[in-house]
């Protein structure tokens, strides 16, 4: 699953519903209808469809409404079982020892550890390390305390090797080679530099400035990890906190020397991944090794400090923009020189200019490597990084020309959907009454209010590989089965809702079985592709089940299958709505085994159900205390299109979550490593600051209902793209403090205000 690399230039989404519609076909059915007890010949026109459709929005009873998540009660009562909670007979707890230095030669004596009571294994994994946090040993004990004691009993000596953990060290003369070919990747170039420079030179307003964002952590509440249930023999089960149930199967099988059909993966509930959990990971591989050696179940969940250093990150970046703006607010040209900091990885950065048209453009993007763990995909890889500088450049140039920040955005956006969205968030946040629309507020010594904007884009379409079963039991119960995973995003509810809608039932009438590799296959959840991959497959299965059930019921209802209707918990013929059976009565006519139907994501049928390409806009209102540098976000407004919302609450949750996560990125989050000592300084939830309850502003999340595409589209990623940019712009707008380096901590705000001597 490739979700890491952003797709060059951001795509141009098409919100036109016609782009995706197929011509509507109908046919007429001759039938009889009772009119006052007298049967009469009539003709009924029915839709003649070659596959499932979502139908008219006004007819939907479950979809496009506000649904509570079906697993809410088990989660809030603690009954939901996460990987971390799995306890098996004879299980041992494993712990990793991670190298505290970015690069070192390591010698480890495991003898003392092995002699401790309750300790079952102590294995050296690595003797020469390349990144801070690289696992160098694993121990296992009968309890987690035994494992902790074993860790402490390892006799370790570190011989630090030269390292580079930040930009300065990586690019210094004589820097150690982080990767074989040096500390810089191959630059990606686009556009004609001379042409862009000339356009900028000729523009009335010009700017050259460097913007940077730090390395951020995914900070999933559940750390990475697995429980491997293997006791020798020919079978194994892996419980895993993953975004892709099926990916683990083959990997575990290979490591244990089994076949894929001997391994089951289980992801009952999952505590977040944000892009960092796509495969078994090195921790999972180590757990397999221990399980194979001990022939006992192994529980290996990362401890929080280890999670911070070895489980991926969102790459930082540093971009120098040169840009010129015409008097009418259109950009004349833009040159961007970007460096990405993804540790041993390549980092990610959507190609500048981000979304906006910028006249003549040239960009150069290069990875700078350091001895830290490789970046992984993180919610909209590359987009938040690219958004930050781009949105700032627009504001800074607009101020030079005394232009309205909203109008300048519109002037550089061809797609009118963004115009409409920007105007909506502007209205909601009070832009039109705001006093500082064309120049920043004063550095007054008091508290000042500012507003900022940002926009986003994403794909969000799905792809093949997902299949689904729907079963109707004779007692009326309904089960939908698909091996997909619910990361906390609500896919279990989505699956349930689609089937309930199909049969005119309520959410509670359907049970979803997910998160198990013995169920029909499903794709991984990355890049907002889950909705577009899952919903067509589930809809297909539900539709097939409905057609099969209608065929079965037609003779019983003395009608044709095409006229059988399911609504409000009842089943009837369209010709005779009064002669209805209850759902239970209808199901009672099934054979003992009930009714089973299968469906899948089929390219042609899915094309009528899912779409691709979304727009979003956000606005933030902040208060800056110009005496202390304190930034408070007072309000955020986000709007997002997503075609047909399956669950409006879930869509709004994604928007709210995106805004909160971007607020945290704007104000607090940053990985800190001491470059000289090579130590991670804030690898815990106290010093790595995440926004908490008091930071949450008034939030308005708006689903863009002007988007009438009858297609489902994932929208988790774009929700996180523009919030931090809007906040930084709002700070500038409030008081003239332009902080070009996130996070917007008081030290930087005070410096930007010129208040530090």
């Amino acid at each position: 699953m490739s979700t890491n690399e952003p797709t060059g230039a951001p795509l141009a989404p098409n919100q036109d519903p016609k782009a995706q519609e197929k011509p509507r076909k109908t046919r007429k059915i001759k039938t009889t209808k009772d009119v006052n007890g007298v049967p009469q010949e009539i003709e009924i026109e029915v839709e003649d469809v070659d596959g499932p459709r979502w139908g008219e929005r006004k007819d939907l009873k479950v979809l496009n409404t506000e649904l509570r998540r079906v697993d809410g009660p088990v989660k809030v009562t603690g009954r939901a079982r996460y990987t971390h909670d799995v306890r098996l007979p004879g299980m041992v707890y494993a712990r990793l020892l991670c190298c505290p230095y970015p690069s070192a030669e390591v010698t480890i004596d495991v003898q003392d550890a092995l002699k401790l009571p309750g300790v079952e294994a102590a294995i050296v994994l690595e003797t020469k390390t390349r990144f801070l946090g690289q696992p160098i040993a694993v121990v296992a004990g009968r309890t987690s305390d035994h494992a902790d004691d074993a860790l402490r009993a390892l006799k370790v000596t570190y011989k630090p090797l030269p390292w580079a953990v930040d930009r300065a060290q990586a690019l210094a003369e004589g820097a150690p080679n982080v990767r074989k070919n040096g500390n810089k990747g191959k630059p990606g170039q686009n556009g004609d530099r001379a042409e862009a420079e000339a356009a900028i030179a000729a523009a009335p307003a010009k700017l050259e400035a460097t913007y940077s964002v730090p390395v951020q952590h995914h900070a999933s509440l559940e750390t990475h990890g697995v429980v491997i249930d293997y006791r020798g023999g020919e079978e194994a089960t892996v419980y895993i906190s993953t975004q892709w149930t099926f990916a683990a199967v083959g990997q575990v099988a290979e490591l244990l020397g089994l076949k894929a059909n001997q391994v089951t993966a289980i992801v009952e509930h999952m505590g977040g991944g944000f892009g960092s959990k796509f495969d078994l990971g090195s921790e999972g591989a180590v757990a397999c090794r221990v399980a194979k050696e001990l022939k006992k179940p192994v529980h290996l969940m990362l401890r929080r400090p280890d999670e911070f250093v070895m489980a991926g990150n969102r790459s930082g970046n540093r971009v120098t923009y040169k840009a010129g703006m015409n008097a009418d607010g259109t950009l004349a040209g833009l040159v961007a020189n970007a460096e990405k900091f993804g540790g041993l990885g390549d980092g990610s950065m959507a190609r500048p200019p981000y979304v906006y048209s910028a006249g003549k453009t040239y960009s150069e993007v290069v990875a700078v490597y350091t001895n830290t763990d490789s970046n992984r995909a993180m919610r909209a890889p590359g987009h938040p990084q690219a958004s930050f500088g781009m949105e700032a450049v627009l504001d800074e140039l607009a101020y030079q020309l005394g232009l309205d920040l909203l109008e300048v955005r519109k002037a550089n956006l061809k797609d009118k959907v963004w115009h409409r969205q920007l105007e909506r968030v502007a209205k909601e946040i009070g832009w039109f009454e705001h006093p500082h629309r064309t120049k920043p507020g004063p550095n007054s010594g008091g508290k000042e209010l500012g507003i900022g904007f940002g926009i986003s884009t994403w794909g969000g379409g799905g792809s093949g590989g997902t299949e689904c079963d729907v079963q109707l039991a004779k007692d009326g119960s309904v089960t939908v089965s698909v091996g997909t995973q619910d990361l906390g995003t609500g896919s279990r509810t989505l699956v349930t809702a689609i089937v309930a809608e199909e049969f005119g039932l309520q959410l509670g009438d359907v049970v979803a079985r997910i998160g198990n590799s013995r169920l029909p296959s499903a794709t991984g959840s990355g890049g907002s592709t889950t909705t577009g991959s899952l919903s067509p497959a589930v809809k297909d299965a539900a539709w097939n089940a409905r057609n099969a059930f209608a065929e079965h019921l037609a003779p019983i209802l003395k009608t044709e299958a095409a006229l059988v209707r399911f609504a409000g918990g009842k089943v009837f013929s369209q010709a005779n709505p009064n002669a209805a059976m209850t759902w239970k009565q209808a199901c009672a006519t099934l054979r003992d085994a009930g009714l089973n139907a299968h469906g899948k994501w089929d390219k042609d049928r899915a094309a009528a159900l899912m779409g691709n390409g979304v727009h979003g806009a956000q606005a933030a209102k902040v208060e800056v205390d110009t005496l202390t540098g304190r930034v408070r976000v007072l309000e955020m407004v986000g709007i997002q299109d997503c075609g047909l919302p399956i669950n409006r609450t879930a869509v709004r949750s994604q928007l709210n979550g995106g805004m909160v996560q971007s607020l945290s990125y704007a104000l607090f989050e940053e990985r800190v490593i001491d470059p000289v000592l090579g130590l991670a300084l804030n690898a815990n939830f106290e010093d790595y600051k995440l926004a908490g309850p008091s930071e949450i502003p008034k939030m308005t999340s708006i689903i863009d209902d002007d988007d009438q595409r009858s297609a489902t589209i994932g929208m988790a990623e774009p929700a996180i793209v523009p919030g931090h940019s809007a906040i930084a712009n709002a700070v500038h707008n409030a008081c003239g403090a332009r902080v070009r380096d996130l996070p917007l901590t008081p030290d930087k705000v005070l410096a930007a205000l010129g208040r530090i001597a």
């Binding site: 505290p100 205390d625 005496l627 202390t628 540098g629 901590t745």
Partner: protein
């Protein structure tokens, strides 16, 4: 963490008795909010904990008729914050208590533990950094990541004292009772905390290993006291102070009679800003005075890079604290 034995004394006598002649390393345990973290991170590895929680009589807040207040060491920060008498008569203390950590931390952390807690400096908290505080010979913050470190106090260690209660209590002129198996002593809180240059650099207070802090005594404030605690934290939900100001103020009409200004988060001890107090005493209660007091508060302050901002920040907070008494 390393295994230890837990001793649950039923009386103060038993508690100090257990500290008297330790055969192995012993630590006093109160709410455990700080100590257990230190143990998990292997910064301290005691063999034995003396758990004060079962010791009777240390969890009360009592006012005398004259208005003096005695606070038991086991009173939780939350109980202090919510106590009606404290809110009414010792506002700076109630506000300081309310600014500590999060509700969860306040409900468990105790007053004694809060005053005896260890520094949060991330070099001190990193097992692999052998810093001055841990017996090494360098304070890494000086040339390292010093955004949260001290601007006052003069080193050679640049930790900041993390307690919010301490500046408030120093502003109120509090004393503490320290008890050992052979007796007890009263120490003014201002003398309880020691600068790194003064005493054992590995400690922040004069508390000895065989002593328990049993009570905090706040004398009855002179009539007419106005007081407030202004704390600046990066993250509102829970955070230690980047800088804070405890202010107690007496006015005589439009003039300041006397003021106590104590800073938190900027020095290794709660920092009595005497120059600020002098600038206020006898001066008109007005913006120009506030500005002079703000300058006085940071007299001698020195940043070394990433913590430079604490100087204007502290000045701003002093002004804000004074304005709020207007």
């Amino acid at each position: 963490m390393k295994s230890f034995t837990l001793f649950n004394p039923k009386s103060l006598g038993d508690a100090v008795g257990a500290l008297a002649a330790p055969t192995s390393s012993v630590k006093v345990l109160a709410g455990g909010q700080d100590l257990l973290t230190e143990m998990k991170e292997h910064l301290v590895e005691p063999d034995k904990l003396v758990n004060l929680k079962g010791v009777p009589g240390l969890d009360r807040i009592e006012f005398t008729a004259a208005g003096a207040c005695t606070i038991g060491a086991l009173v939780t920060v939350g109980a202090l914050e919510e106590h009606a008498g404290v809110r009414e008569r010792l506002r700076v203390l109630a506000e300081a208590a309310g600014s500590v950590g999060s509700p969860q931390i306040r409900s468990v952390g105790t007053v004694g533990g809060n005053l005896c807690q260890r520094p949060r400096c991330w070099y001190y908290r990193s097992e692999h950094a052998k810093c001055l505080k841990k017996g090494g010979d360098e304070c890494f913050s000086f040339s390292g990541q010093n955004k949260y470190n001290a601007i006052l106090g003069g080193g050679p260690s640049y930790i900041v004292h993390p307690s919010d209660l301490a500046p408030a209590l120093v502003a109120l002129g509090a004393t503490v009772t320290l008890k050992c198996s052979t007796g007890e002593r009263q120490v003014a809180l201002e003398r309880f905390f020691t600068l790194p240059g003064e005493g054992d650099i590995r400690r922040e207070t004069v508390l000895r290993d065989d002593e328990v802090l049993t009570h905090v005594h706040v004398p009855a404030p002179a009539a007419g006291m106005q007081s407030t605690y202004v704390k600046f934290r990066e993250r509102g939900s829970y955070d230690f102070a980047l800088a804070s100001v405890a202010l107690a103020l007496w006015r005589d009409g439009a003039r300041v009679k006397e003021a106590r200004v104590v800073l938190g988060g900027v020095a290794p001890i709660p920092w009595r800003a005497k120059a600020a107090e002098a600038a206020l005493a006898g001066a008109a209660f007005e913006a120009a005075t506030f500005a002079r007091a703000a300058d006085g508060a940071v007299q001698g302050a020195e940043g070394f890079g990433q913590n430079d901002y604490k100087i204007p920040l502290t000045k701003g907070l002093v002004q804000r604290a004074l304005q709020s008494c207007g």
